[in-house]
Symmetry: C5
Subunit: 366 residues, 5 copies
Amino acid sequence: MRKILKNMTQNKSTSPGTITYIGDEKQHNVKIKMISYNDTAIDEFDVTEPDKMNELKTDKNKLYWINIDGIHDVHLLEKTGNTFNIHPLTLEDIANTTQRPKYEEYDEYLYYVIKMIYFDETEKIIKNEQVSFILTENLVISFQEREGDVFEPLRNRLRQNKGRVRKMKSDYLFYILIDAIIDNYFLVIEKIGDNIDVIDEALINNAEKQMIHKIHELKKEILHLRKSLWPLRDVNNALYRMESSFITGDIRIFLRDLYDHTIQVVDTLETYQYMVSGIMDHYLSVTSNKLNEIMKVLTIFASLFIPLTFIAGWYGMNFKHMPEVDSPYAYPVIIIITIGCIIGMIFYFRRKKWLGKSKQHKKKEK
Amino acid sequence: MRKILKNMTQNKSTSPGTITYIGDEKQHNVKIKMISYNDTAIDEFDVTEPDKMNELKTDKNKLYWINIDGIHDVHLLEKTGNTFNIHPLTLEDIANTTQRPKYEEYDEYLYYVIKMIYFDETEKIIKNEQVSFILTENLVISFQEREGDVFEPLRNRLRQNKGRVRKMKSDYLFYILIDAIIDNYFLVIEKIGDNIDVIDEALINNAEKQMIHKIHELKKEILHLRKSLWPLRDVNNALYRMESSFITGDIRIFLRDLYDHTIQVVDTLETYQYMVSGIMDHYLSVTSNKLNEIMKVLTIFASLFIPLTFIAGWYGMNFKHMPEVDSPYAYPVIIIITIGCIIGMIFYFRRKKWLGKSKQHKKKEK
Amino acid sequence: MRKILKNMTQNKSTSPGTITYIGDEKQHNVKIKMISYNDTAIDEFDVTEPDKMNELKTDKNKLYWINIDGIHDVHLLEKTGNTFNIHPLTLEDIANTTQRPKYEEYDEYLYYVIKMIYFDETEKIIKNEQVSFILTENLVISFQEREGDVFEPLRNRLRQNKGRVRKMKSDYLFYILIDAIIDNYFLVIEKIGDNIDVIDEALINNAEKQMIHKIHELKKEILHLRKSLWPLRDVNNALYRMESSFITGDIRIFLRDLYDHTIQVVDTLETYQYMVSGIMDHYLSVTSNKLNEIMKVLTIFASLFIPLTFIAGWYGMNFKHMPEVDSPYAYPVIIIITIGCIIGMIFYFRRKKWLGKSKQHKKKEK
Amino acid sequence: MRKILKNMTQNKSTSPGTITYIGDEKQHNVKIKMISYNDTAIDEFDVTEPDKMNELKTDKNKLYWINIDGIHDVHLLEKTGNTFNIHPLTLEDIANTTQRPKYEEYDEYLYYVIKMIYFDETEKIIKNEQVSFILTENLVISFQEREGDVFEPLRNRLRQNKGRVRKMKSDYLFYILIDAIIDNYFLVIEKIGDNIDVIDEALINNAEKQMIHKIHELKKEILHLRKSLWPLRDVNNALYRMESSFITGDIRIFLRDLYDHTIQVVDTLETYQYMVSGIMDHYLSVTSNKLNEIMKVLTIFASLFIPLTFIAGWYGMNFKHMPEVDSPYAYPVIIIITIGCIIGMIFYFRRKKWLGKSKQHKKKEK
Amino acid sequence: MRKILKNMTQNKSTSPGTITYIGDEKQHNVKIKMISYNDTAIDEFDVTEPDKMNELKTDKNKLYWINIDGIHDVHLLEKTGNTFNIHPLTLEDIANTTQRPKYEEYDEYLYYVIKMIYFDETEKIIKNEQVSFILTENLVISFQEREGDVFEPLRNRLRQNKGRVRKMKSDYLFYILIDAIIDNYFLVIEKIGDNIDVIDEALINNAEKQMIHKIHELKKEILHLRKSLWPLRDVNNALYRMESSFITGDIRIFLRDLYDHTIQVVDTLETYQYMVSGIMDHYLSVTSNKLNEIMKVLTIFASLFIPLTFIAGWYGMNFKHMPEVDSPYAYPVIIIITIGCIIGMIFYFRRKKWLGKSKQHKKKEK
């Protein structure tokens, strides 16, 4: 099971606003990429000296997108915080990868945190990563846990000046980044939907023993996703309705669309949750049906033979004085009684509808 | 299982407002029908050159209903969008058949999307299709996934000038279209209700093995319907209460009625959901009762014969020195012991109320 | 199962406001009774010519109560509608017996629809019927599905001038009619409560096989009632709080009382719902306990005798060279081994607390 | 089961405001006690002539508490109503012991009704009784179903002038009476909590058959309590927030405390509800585990002996021509085969982890 | 089970505002520690004479934190109450360790009560203790049940003047104390999360009998935590939004952070609740699967041998006149029939997919 709370207790005794990295251990180097653009030009370079970030960000007519891969470098976070006037509590949140989605408005910036959940096409696994955004008037800073993200197509659109992104303000960039993350949720959800389909269809043909573990895993996966996505509904609804100096009226219509997508994701996830629990019930019923039929066969078999075996045993007794044993008619009579017994019981079982059904069932199978 | 999310991931990396068809693959040709009418006259023709749609829509004193069958033609959607000033985000939504029901107000038009669920009388199957509406002052555009809809009676009423439709504005046409869709929900829901009745009654007589799959299918169908219809409650409530230039006061009373019908549909669906889960519980109990009775019969049978078989086996031993075997009274004594054993056990089972009930039960059945 | 949606699909293709009777087929004649009264006088007569209803309703100083038994006569409904200015949508609702409880305010009247559920003392069955009310300044019209209602005691009070009804306005008559309907819910609910009691007590003594069907029936009955009564909470709450020209301040206190009764009914129904599902769980546990005990007896019996039967069978083998068989001590030794086997197993079962408990249990029963 | 709805149908056909006693039948006499007090003096006497109650209530500087034990005397209620201007609807509610907790403000008084649930220390049973309060400026009337209440300590405090009660107004007396009732809920809830503890611990050691009935009884008791207490949350919250001439600002702080206690009671009850259903699940799992183990023992036993018994039976056949039987090595060979069979099966069961675990389990038990 | 309601009934008959200690019995002495500090200086001393507490608190330029370990000393509480003008109802709440989290604003102070749940590193157990806070302009009083708390790191930060605490007002101290408590919740929740992981993984490999008790214990633990933490959501949300003279605007941003942490804790707890009930379902399914397989083995075994044993028994009968017995071909024929029987049944079981699967399963295990 992926842990929900990663070493949270590390920061147990620290003062509020102390920046502590809470997440998986990381060794790789931090990478800072800055893209500055306006309608006519675009520049892209790696930042190696974080102290000089602000100097680079000189031109008021340009928009800046700084992407930082690696939030485990606490000193870098502090420097960035100082450079752009980010509140220590915000920095603490950025470094803590166990946040629920939320946004917070400060005087100087808007802080937004979300889970990036995407299907890594090369490694063929689902990846889960926390992304924080700082939005100011002409700047978006994105903080990621590690390299690799879902923003590559977006960068290409920026470079090629496709769509309206180069003509809009920083809030549109901000929106388009979140939109890319939410669009990727659909992929993950579709994978889960496919899994549900496969299990659901498999159940009708055959309820395997291993299936219960698969259903349980699916249930847990959906529960984890739900935990990450559920709060997003309220967050994106509030974002769309908020009065803020960082969100211009022009992109409200886009934020409404974003909210719509969010609802759709959460809605589908909820339906999946109902489905999986329906599949669970179905599995249990199918299993219990199987047990029932096995019991029926056992009962019929055992019940048919138990009295016969008794009769056979009875005349296997070695008493000297058993008059029947010596009679020449005894054996045929016993044969007739035995057959009568079998017929009687089959008749009884048929009336009870145990055996009859079993036969009908056989016919159906043919 | 019908898929909830159709190839959603297609549009993963596109810019917001990019129109991408998301739905089942389609080959058939797009058909555009335009009906223009006022109180006195009605015209009906197929539009073959979509570019000229706006030219056709010349007379301010007439109302226009343009029906487009086929939303997979992205270029057509773009042209239509340009002609009638439809926002790219709206066009994106129209082309994406995985929308939840919603309405969105823009400056130039009202956008409304709903699922058309209807029982196709010729093919005898339930069909599911997304319909989008664009409502302006004197125009309604309806976008459907494919040919065939529930609007035919309505077209007849238009042609024959039945009811008040030819006297009212475009918002009444808009209302009457949605009303036709919601009225068709009742049919589908009635089919489900009939199914529930059939299964429920079948259960009392006999709990078949296949029934569990039917119940599960029913459960899934209701879950799917619920996903499509649930949001409609809020949508139609808001529609009825909204202040909009596209909705005149005259039809508010009709929208209230529409909302009422919506609630009724959703309400019934919810009751069905409870019913099906009640049937599930009932099925499981009936099944478990059956197992119980089978076990009881097995126990009684086995328990009656097990000691007898032992006695018979005992005197089947070939020891040279078994004094009882030689006694002439041995066999009658053993017969008496055997009968005593049977009577004692029957008495015990009766006291435990296992056998007694079974007999009472037989009497009841007669 | 009583159907929730009666032939709803009949009106699938009609224009809104078209009056179509939706309900059970009816042949009996429609009866219209009019009572006109004021503080001093009361008149009661059957209306045979519906056209003249309005003429009869001449005296502004009198209050009129028109009761119509039979809503399947669509023409009568239309005439009534014309006479009293009732909106076509309201008439459509009156004729459709699948309404949820609701009220709607129009300029000329207040429309209120409710389910009359009552225990018919003569036929000893629960009846279910839709009643619609039209309330204007000096008139109440009640529409019923068929003859026979819960208003008889109320009519007597009117005739005998008991209580304050003859001194109050039409809204009090309206209130008192609904109050009579809601008071009758208590009777039905009490019947259900008695049923729950009977089943609950029966369960402790003995869990019969048929009981599961009774519990299921009870569950369905409560579900149906809930569907009819649940929306009434909101309706009556809104009625009590509404600002309307048809509801005078004098009866607000009575409407609060009505709302109180409604809550009490719904509340009790909800408790019954929990109770029935508790009984279901209890039944299943009792059943599963029974299975457990049966299994225990089988195990003990079978396990005791299986090794003994093996021993007996062993020495029943006919090998020529079995040294034990010839020994004179063999038989006593085998007897001792057999007894030892039995004692050992009883000891084992006691330690496992299977047999010991069973004995304690016997003692308890004495 | 205690009935939730007592003969409610009695008042089916009466006019609103008709006072009808609804509750258990009563024969005992009604007792009316009046306590009049101010800061300096206190008088206590039995009222024998209810008509003169108002005359006794003469001194405007004194506070009066009239306690009426017995609400089945409808005439007394009417007289009291006339004396203190109580609305007929209120009197109807007082006489109906099936009320949910509520308060209603009238012009002349505040009406409050609550269930008194207390553990009778002498009879050692839980008692349940409806108490109604009428609060006016200098008067509190309490109506009880029968003699015996939870107010005795409070009377002593009044007599001994302990606490602030003699210095405060009638609303404080009103508050202190309700507080006494709610404090007694804790006792009942504690009894239930103790019961839950006992059953929960018993389950780990041994799941007895009778336990299921106890859990079911507990569940029902909690459900009943919940029905009585749940609405109290809203009632006491509204009471604390209400603007009323009968509630002075001085006691608002006390009403907030009352509300707090109410939440605490309801909260604990809810937790108990979860607990009991957790215990139910636990019980069922333990029971099912037991069945599992019994089945395992049966399987191992039966499976071990079934082939052996077959072998023994085989060589018990009386065929003339069975070559093996005559061989002197046959018997030892069969013994070896038998032992091999046993070892093989034990090995198989161990690999399946059925037998091995059973042994580990034995070790654990030591 | 830890009791939810400790001897609550003690205060059954006391007047509101009477301070009664409700909690575990305590013998240890009460300890009062006072810390007075400002930006430049810090003083720390034990208070031995509680009467003089207020004299000590002389300097208006200093902030005071009084920590009282031991709330069972009712007289001390009274003295403290008198010294600092604390309302008797507040004192009653402080002494009652069964409070739900809440805050209450009085004119002179803010009262806040919370559960301190922490993992005692030395004793390795989870401790649970009620902490009350009184916040005034320059004073924070904290009341604890016993010695030992989670504030030690905080005291060190105070002493060493780390962070901003010495520069801020009393509300920041108040915030920082609550923050320390909530940070400790994460530790406890992490322990529970680890437990869930361990059980969840153990289930896939092997469903032990004892596990059901562990899951039940976990469920109860989470239920208890939920009861303590759930109300904290609303409390801390209200605290962050409240307009109060005791909470300055400067710390609002910190209270928002506090609220965020609270939601995160409650959220995780809720997810754990779902998880544990998912594990419960999984456990039951795994167990039922096991039973199924055991039944299958029994059925196959018994069914294979039952007819064979009958055949063997049959020819063990001692009838004089059994023609087959004497034939020299009888024995071989019987052997062939027996083998045919076995093959036929194996074939039947394979077709029923009982045996075949079992073999596939074996292969998978290798």
